[in-house]
């Protein structure tokens, strides 16, 4: 079991349990994290599961997937270097303790 912490724009934090193999998006949806909309359900067809990987973790979540940049261009909030679609980040044992920040808006 891995812990993932979602940080809201107002700074409040929610920590939830995740299993290796799940995506950060599916963990958020399963735990009712409001800041992740995930309209397309993980097919990389929208940008409503946008998140910012915490600086301390950005080296460990890997590179953006093929096509992810195109979809991030459609994000409702500012896109930064640490921006990812949370449906494209797979939880691994190495990501235990991962912190991701939620954007102001998804839609």
């Amino acid at each position: 079991m891995q812990k993932i912490t979602f940080v809201n724009p107002d700074g409040s934090r929610t920590s939830v349990d995740a299993k290796a193999g799940e995506t950060v998006m599916s963990v958020a949806v399963a735990n009712g994290i409001d800041g992740i909309v995930a309209e397309c359900g993980g097919s990389m067809m929208c940008a409503t599961c946008h998140c910012y990987v915490d600086d301390a973790w950005s080296g460990q979540t890997g590179d953006r997937q093929d096509g992810e940049d195109d979809m991030l261009e459609c994000a409702a909030s500012e896109v930064r270097e640490t921006s990812r679609l949370s449906c494209q980040i797979k939880v691994t044992e190495a990501l235990d303790g991962l912190v991701v920040h939620l954007p102001d808006e998804q839609e």
Binding site: V29, A38, E39, C40, G41, G42, S43, M44, M45, C46, A47, D66, G67, D70, M71, E73, C74
Partner: protein, 407 residues
Amino acid sequence: MDMIEGHRQIVPPAGVPSWDVDPFTPEVLSDPAPYFADLRARGELVFLPRYSVLAVGRYQTTHDVFSDHENFASSRGVGLSDFKLDSPWRKPSIILEVDPPEHTRTRKVMSRALSPKVVRDFSDLFRETAKRLVDEALEKGTIEAVTEFAEAYPTTVFPAAVGMRDTNPRFLVDYGAMVFNAVGPDNEIRRNSMSRQSEIVPWITDACARDRLTEDGLGARIYAEADAGEITHAEAAMLVRSFLSAGVDTTVTGIGSALWCLSRNPGEWEKLKEDPKLVRPAFDEVLRYTSPVHTFFRTAGRDTEIAGFPVEEGSKILCALGAANLDPEKWDEPDVFRVDRRPKGHLAFGAGIHGCVGQNVARGELAAVLQALIEKVHRIEPAGEAEWRPNNSIHALDKLPLRLIAK
């Protein structure tokens, strides 16, 4: 090798229940909910001897099989026919009926052409057309909503969005029906649909050519990717064909089903009118509740397993998406239509790398239609019995008489 419906017959894995049912009769296809419930009740995995396939209908297993492109191939066809052993009725789609790494390249091109940002460019077209059709419907008072609304809307906006110079609404709708009927067995429904192949297919092929497209539509975007070297020009024509295969009949069905849901659930219609923010989630609930694409297949690309049962290479897996979308293990009161349910994870657009690439267009079209309806319409009432049109993989209305009362 013993073949059946274009694929190899299999010996069912030990312990998997066998069920002598034909999911592709007009009776089941017109009213599939009892079959879905029965399929889920029989187990995680069920053998259907009639077609020698394995079937899944419980939510989690269906989701897992349907999105597991490593074990379950799409390149061997998403219908009963195994393209490794049988020749397909048309040249296979280079996005639907293909696996990675080939899929990754074409998918990227299509995703880019159909991104939320691109679809936003069409919002005026979608909105103005929706308003006009709603006004016309209100003027008539009583309409046959399948032809006069559900078909009229996508066959107006979609060719315009793609940039088609040729228009033939009937051919577009019937070509879609043909593609989706071809998923099923060689039954009368499929044969009737296919009988118009020689009339419709050449028209579709011609309509995909670059000189038949405007320079500012979705089709032109695909050809621009070919100019940039991302795909070949022949592939561009094939991807434009995918627009025409999957972009019309599906949204026709979505609109008809939305009107059916809202006319049969006046309380939910009131909720939607009161809270326009529910327009997008309400469409997802329509999709979950009615599953426009009710069934697709996968093929085991290697020896693998489903829910602990061994599955041999070449096995066809019937994925009953409609059954998963009504599974009480996943959904609270699945048989109740609720505009504010927000059914995250429904399988109406599929899941994973093959999830519907046109879903932003579908969402854009439906948002415009529902928005126009709640702005102008007070009540939507049934004006007669609704009838469903049996299709081997689409659950669509054939007739929907409605009365629309203006605000």
